[in-house]
Symmetry: C2
Subunit: 320 residues, 2 copies
Amino acid sequence: MSFQLFREIQADLARVEKELSNYMDTDHPTLTAASGHLLYAGGKRLRPAFVLLAGRFHNYSFERLLPLAVTMEMIHMATLVHDDVIDESETRRGTPTVRARWGNRVSMHAGDHLFARSLLLIAEMNNPIIARVLAETSVEMCEGEIQQMATAFDVEQNFRDYLYRIKRKTALLLSASCQLGAVAVDAPPYMIRALKWYGYHLGMAFQVTDDILDLEADEAKLGKPIGSDLRQGIMTLPVLEAIAQVQDPKLKTLLAKQEKSEREVQEAIRIIKQTDAIARSHRVAQLYLAKAKAELSRLPNIPARDSMAMIADFIGRRSY
Amino acid sequence: MSFQLFREIQADLARVEKELSNYMDTDHPTLTAASGHLLYAGGKRLRPAFVLLAGRFHNYSFERLLPLAVTMEMIHMATLVHDDVIDESETRRGTPTVRARWGNRVSMHAGDHLFARSLLLIAEMNNPIIARVLAETSVEMCEGEIQQMATAFDVEQNFRDYLYRIKRKTALLLSASCQLGAVAVDAPPYMIRALKWYGYHLGMAFQVTDDILDLEADEAKLGKPIGSDLRQGIMTLPVLEAIAQVQDPKLKTLLAKQEKSEREVQEAIRIIKQTDAIARSHRVAQLYLAKAKAELSRLPNIPARDSMAMIADFIGRRSY
């Protein structure tokens, strides 16, 4: 995501980055290395950006927003590093992760530590709404992960199963970032609500787009091999759209297979691409983006609102 | 630990048990099974018991103590299930754990879910002291785990390294259980302080005893093979005492070896038992128990205080 999108909050976002970097510094060299690896591997810092942008709609206070912005990114990082902890059969895939370099134990403890540190920040903020929303979000995010495991390789699941998962995987934390940024600056309820729903719909669109890219992105830009959802048995929207259209049982057989050869993965992608599954998925993403922008129209016309609209447009066009 | 010790709070502890059991019931069958497995595998429920006993010293209110008691046990269970997530090289040891039955991913998500659920309980209690103490405790517990990994197989570490670890592994959560039970019923500061330190010293003694038992318990009673710390390279107090006494470099060589044969483990235990390392470790445990009981003397003479003294005596004598 281009840095330009965040011009509105560029300087403060840099201060968040510095604070995050300080947070990675611990007394434990391995932990510092693992967390640092995770931080410097990049990421769009979309959650901190949303915290700051949401804070613009009322009495902007960087001091009040900073711990929240750091917390949101740390929770996000904790989920990423825990998602790396996978069963032995899957250990040889993908780019070097914390797990690949330091093993499951370090990944798990690094994630636990990030999460525990964010608890400390939450406790220090001493705001019952922030504490409750982040606790609820954490529970739901876990349930999404569990559901993803439970439905892996299940070709009979429906679109609702998919929406249940991506809400928890992506939309809720982005929604909480927007919502709580407004809560932290004591914005009025109507703003909090509009920002919460903007974040939710934007997050749904973001994940749908992510799932499309897993089938058709340029691997070099994406930074990981395409088809990784297929290999893990995660049935994404374009996959479910294709299942609904293709009569030939071969696609289902390929998708349900737990250990696919590289040829089988490519064959499944080829069949999916022969349908209009990807075009349909793009339309779903556009619908969510339209809903996100409709929420923005309820908010005051300030530069932060333009930035949020631009982020929505960017997600509609993103190719990596 | 005999149920008799908790006579004082027996009925309420049974209600905590029921509530814990309700908490294990989720919409996700695998998660419910994994968490239930963990819960019904037993455990002494020492943390909930301490919450309730501590609450006896002031205006006892089961309703205020219940969410805290459940939270403490769930945090404990979360750490247990995460400790099961180990590297591939260690997957074939020990009794059936959640990880052994359902794999690393389920273990990790079950632990995350238990922890997130406990966050929700913490948020609902809406008590900034409870939130802060549990956040700080969680961070320190993670750091203890990380330190345990970092010092594994290191025969040059000192007693302070050991005390650093067991404080975080065991003492802090027991201490927080006692402290926060008193906080939840608005006990006066002197009581909170005495209970906190009782829990801390008792916890240190508990872990020292645990570490002695790993070398000399009856395996059938202990429920796991002895010597498991040695296999994992964890240098416990009796091991460090033996290292300090034995001149023969053979012991260090054995202990530093990452993959020990069963004969090597037994040989190391034999050498350690030839020293007075275990007797010295028992004396350290007794010192901590004396300190724990000294804290009790600051508290009103009520039946809960007798129960806490009996728990200290029991730990001094326990053989499994």
